[in-house]
């Protein structure tokens, strides 16, 4: 009968929230926003790869340079024989984006080179062009010193460092510090958001019951502990529902968004680049496309494990904090009074969040990272941040065990404060008072 009542409470807490407009809007809008971001990131990184291409007219007045600037994907050089003054006049109508003027200068002292255009050339373009000119001059000098074109080609080599992690069996796994960091950030932020968002919902729910004065009616039917537990579990289910819907919807929408943002040609190009990226032999492609690299190592990260561990630490961390939030909610009459109690509860969460994203991502195996991922106040976030870099199983298990023990303690402590607090009206509460409540006999 008593579990039955708890179920009824869970059902109400769950249904009343899931049916709310704000929940539906957030559930639908969340993935759209995430997908938009994701789509934009992909869009811009592809734009970065293909780039906007600039047509540059080259006016070469330098007789010593016989080498020609080589066009690349983003910068196309065309040599024109008109004098520079004529080109300047016809810059609007000529169809060129920029004019590159190379005056007469000795090879070891290149001076007076100008990049002219209607718009001032951006930093990246001028950088690229000057790289190209440097390369051209170097080639010119090398040729003058007697090297042939084939020798020049042989001199060229691109370098890409691939970071690999050696697993327990001794085989090396593809991994990327970039990918791990991104996943660590995303997981850490999500964990922080979910614990905050839903923990505060528990507090609001308790305060709502107090201010609407239904609490005493409820308490004459059910035990305070059942009510608190029902609320916490009901809201946890709302959080899980939202999380699952977000994942499903995000995948669906981002697939669609990527299709809209990225044309077929671009898609082919990225898949091509990605395919190249997965084979070690073409480092140039990987260098051009960090996303391909990241996606490659994402495939190697154990996504299933990350999701399962995320769910565990979300539930654990949420239970740990929401019980404290419930106790705070029970001790005050309205939300404005929560400030003094919120601080000490929020601080460890913020601290965990800030330290996890700075210290832990920099040194995921260090002792600070270890302790942050053990202490239940910070472990949900810190452990999620550490996980993509690899965490020994015993540490994971220990951290989980401590978290479970931690939330059993906070739920127990909170329930003792809660059962007294919910029946107190119009009294300013402080910590001393709460300690006193804790010692009350039921």
């Amino acid at each position: 009968m008593s579990t039955n009542k708890t179920l009824l409470i869970i059902e109400r807490e769950y249904m009343s929230r899931v049916k709310k407009k704000s929940f539906i809007v957030m559930t639908l809008l969340g993935p759209v926003i995430i997908a938009l971001f994701y789509g934009l990131i992909i869009y811009f990184s592809i734009q970065g790869v293909t780039g906007t291409s600039n047509k540059i007219a080259v006016v070469n007045d330098n007789k010593t340079i016989t080498e020609r600037l080589k066009s690349t994907k983003n910068t196309q050089y065309e040599y024109v024989s008109k004098p520079i003054e004529d080109m300047k006049k016809s810059v609007k109508t000529s169809g060129y984006d920029y004019i590159l003027y190379i005056p007469e200068f000795p090879l070891d002292k290149p001076e007076g080179i100008q990049l002219l255009g209607e718009k001032q050339a951006g930093l990246s373009l001028s950088g690229k062009v000057s790289d190209h000119i440097e390369e051209m001059i170097r080639n010119q000098k090398l040729k003058e010193s007697g090297l042939k074109q084939t020798d020049l080609d042989n001199l060229k080599s691109s370098v890409d460092i691939s970071t690999k992690k050696i697993n327990e069996t001794g085989a090396d796994e593809d991994s990327s510090a970039g990918a791990s960091t991104i996943i660590a950030y995303v997981a850490g932020i999500l964990m922080f958001m979910f614990i905050m968002l839903y923990g505060i919902q528990v507090m609001r729910g308790v305060i709502e019951e107090k201010t609407s004065r239904i609490i005493e009616v409820m308490i004459s039917s059910v035990k305070p502990f059942q009510l608190m537990l029902g609320k916490i579990v009901g809201i946890a289910l709302v959080g899980l529902t939202q999380f699952v819907l977000w994942i499903v919807l995000t995948f669906a929408i981002s697939t669609a968004v990527v299709k809209i943002f990225v044309s077929d040609k671009d898609m082919k190009q990225t898949t091509m680049v990605q395919n190249d990226g997965s084979s070690v032999s073409t480092p140039a492609a990987a260098q051009d496309n960090p996303i391909g690299d990241i996606q490659k190592s994402m495939a190697n990260l154990n996504v299933g494990k990350i999701v399962v561990v995320f769910l565990f630490f979300f539930i654990g961390g949420y239970l740990f904090y929401s019980a404290l939030y419930a106790a705070i909610g029970s001790a005050v009459d309205n939300e404005t009074e929560t400030q003094q109690f919120m601080m000490p509860v929020m601080m460890p969460l913020f601290l965990g969040y800030a330290l996890s994203l700075s210290v832990v991502t920099n040194d995921p195996y260090g002792s600070i990272a270890f302790w942050l991922s053990m202490i239940p106040f910070t472990s949900p976030i810190a452990m999620m941040v550490r996980l993509p870099y690899g965490v020994p199983d015993w540490q994971l298990a220990l951290s989980m065990f401590i978290l479970v023990a931690g939330f059993i303690v906070t739920v127990w402590v909170a329930s003792k404060i809660y059962r007294v607090g919910i029946l107190m009206y119009g009294k300013k509460t402080n910590f001393k008072e709460m300690v006193k409540w804790f010692t009350y006999k039921n």
């Binding site: 009968m1 609407s212 004065r213 009616v217 004459s220 059910v222 029946l423 039921n442």
Partner: protein
């Protein structure tokens, strides 16, 4: 049916209930009276098992109070409310199910009550769309829906307009006729006289008076009467039958308040007066519960 024995409840430095004992007879309306802060709510919270006593026991129908009795008690707290965002029907259904009713049974009873109190079209309304009086009707229905044997009402009429207060009063009497026992907690004495059969007076955490309303009133009778007459009668302080407490002249009518001397009756007064004056009225001055309440509280202080 409810027996409260030597209840003590201590809050840190403040003793809310000090050795309070009560007997609530079955099928009666029991008034729990006392000034604000006397300990009424603390006592009710113990009876409704919201809190436990530090010492003492409560028996419900001869059984020690336990969790199974929750379904047999209906409680309308003074600090009462409803979930603001929930629809009325859904909300009452939820509260009824928490008391152990099945969904179909609860739905049937809610429909019955909503029809009875003319609130059929409230089912899909939200609490925030209802007036305070309407909300109180909903709360009343939620309190009695599971047909509890014992219904505890804490300040039930505060905030009710006279029309709705009357409707609820009649429902209380009807339920009482059908056998429900009521505990009625209030500091407003006038509602007590109309409804209560028994009362207990709590003051400063202690019970200072209890018994049936009739008994209490008769012990507080002071043999005082109002007499109105026309004509002349020589009132002197040495009258062997009564002492005059107050005299008022209203046109030709004289109004006097008298107290009988020991051993005298109202008949003796009439015999003395009749030869001289024409009697228009003779009333015994019966103390109101309010008088008794104030008197008792003052004496204690």
């Amino acid at each position: 049916m409810l027996s409260v024995r030597n209840i003590v409840k201590q809050y840190a430095s403040h003793r809310a209930l000090d050795e309070v004992s009560l007997e609530v007879p079955e099928g009666k309306i029991f008034g729990l009276l006392g000034p604000n802060g006397a300990g009424k709510t603390s006592l009710i919270r113990i009876i409704t098992q919201i809190t436990g006593p530090d010492s003492g026991e409560v028996f419900f129908n001869g059984q020690r109070l336990n969790a199974n009795h929750i379904a047999q008690i209906g409680y309308l707290p003074e600090e009462r409310g409803l979930y603001k965002k929930m629809e009325i029907g859904e909300q009452v259904l939820y509260l009824a199910k928490l008391k152990g009713l099945s969904t179909p049974e609860a739905t049937k009873r809610i429909k019955y009550w909503f029809e009875k109190l003319e609130m059929q079209d409230w089912w899909n309304k939200k609490v925030e769309d209802l007036s305070k009086g309407m909300q109180q009707k909903v709360q009343f229905v939620a309190t009695v829906l599971h047909q509890p044997e014992l219904i505890i009402l804490d300040e039930p009429f505060s905030g009710f307009d006279p029309v709705n207060a009357d409707i609820i009063k009649n429902e209380i009497l009807e339920l009482n006729k059908k056998g429900a026992t009521f505990i009625f907690s209030t500091h407003r004495m006038e509602s007590v006289e109309e409804l209560c059969d028994h009362i207990a007076l709590i003051h400063h955490s202690k019970k200072i008076l209890d018994g049936s309303v009739g008994d209490i009133k008769s012990t507080y009778r002071s043999n005082t009467y109002w007499v109105e007459y026309e004509g002349q009668y020589n009132l002197n302080q040495g009258d062997p039958i009564f002492a005059v407490l107050d005299t008022q002249q209203l046109g030709n009518t004289t109004r006097i308040k008298i107290q009988l001397r020991p051993g005298q009756t109202a008949n003796q007064v009439l015999i003395a007066l009749l030869p001289h004056v024409s009697i228009q009225r003779l009333d015994e001055v019966i103390p109101t519960m309010n008088d008794i309440f104030i008197d008792k509280v003052k004496n204690v202080n």
